[in-house]
Subunit: 216 residues, 2 copies
């Protein structure tokens, strides 16, 4: 039984997030990563995150909802209808675990056991703050449009009062977070290397196709 | 305050899953879908799912872990190290919420508010059974390899006793589950239709690149 860990490991290096018991890579520690730039890059690339929270009063139930995440500085933002269950739970102090996964390749090994996936993931724990200052909220929503297409926020019709009210924006500190990354070829057992089966990686990437203009 | 819903809506139609309070689409009910074939197709296409469970004893914390899902009949399977936190929590009776999201397009509207994403998602609630019969476990793990490349299970070295012991396979009934789908062009407000901004969809798809053979 390992000794209890201190809540945060002291570090003066702001390029690396402090580890907590929840963000320390216990299994496959070689894949764990707490580098801020790495974590930001994965969050920025992800079109979708999965927000886990606890619902239910009598008997707690885990709920995982997909939504588009975007980053403003050192916070990760999500938004939703002010009336949605996810927003209501989190806005009232609920804790979330937000996970982002980028799938880079299937890893085909010579044994079934050594098959794997190349991926870059981030797991973030935290409680959000509600962005309710109108100026900050407008800037935050503009940043979401900018994530989809840089330069676009200035071109679209800005939100009116009703739309702004109907939308809740939550900001999570990117503080208690860690990345996990696997890359490279399969790791086969030495005695399997001569088996007559193709082994290697099949790259996967999320690719944008030809845009389809509305009405065409 | 709506009246409490019955736990399951009676249906004799086996092509449609019964709705529960947790799987009824409350918001955007037009996007909700309980068709079994639709749910299976989304699960089959997904290279990754996000498994939400509750960790912590004193203070419950939501945790969301990405892993590769695969389907065998009307069960959704996941696997992991027998020693992993996720497996231990779920194996000991923990409830999970497993969510799969396929991102099909950015939807660019004429107002910021009407931007959206075309997606196909499944949210599944349930408690798993541990597959511990050796024959069933081997068949299940073969089915995972087959998901990656049909025909491959017969070519790779089968799991040895130690590998089999180190791997836990959990099967969730695909029973309390629902799909949610958005497709098509942006839905703009009529008064925005003449704004001089490009609107439409940018298709996104996960594409396999040229395989890279190990050692090349």
């Amino acid at each position: 039984m390992p000794a209890p860990l201190p809540p945060f490991e002291a570090t003066d290096d702001t390029s690396v997030l402090a580890q907590t018991p929840r963000t320390r890579a216990v299994r496959r520690g070689d894949r764990g990563n707490h580098d801020v730039a790495t974590i930001h890059a994965i969050l920025d690339e992800a079109p979708v995150c999965h927000v886990g929270f606890i619902d239910g009063t009598d008997s707690p139930v885990p709920v995982v909802i997909p939504t588009v995440p975007w980053r403003v500085g050192d916070e990760l933002l999500i938004h939703g209808s002010s009336a949605s269950r996810m927003i209501r739970r989190l806005q009232s102090g609920g804790e979330a675990c937000i996970t982002v996964s980028l799938i880079d390749a299937w890893v085909l090994a010579r044994s079934g056991f050594n098959h794997s996936v190349n991926y870059r993931s981030v797991v973030l724990f935290g409680r959000p703050r509600l962005i309710d200052d109108e100026t900050e909220k407008r800037a935050a929503l503009d940043a979401l449009v900018e994530k989809i297409e840089p330069g676009r926020a200035a071109k679209v019709r800005p939100a009116n009062a009703q739309e702004l009210k109907a939308t809740a924006v939550l900001a999570f500190p990117i503080a208690e977070a860690s990345a996990k990354i696997r890359s490279g070829p399969p790791c086969d057992d030495p005695e399997d290397m001569d088996l007559p089966v193709w082994a290697g990686v099949v790259p996967l990437s999320l690719v944008a196709g030809t845009p389809i203009r509305d009405g065409e």
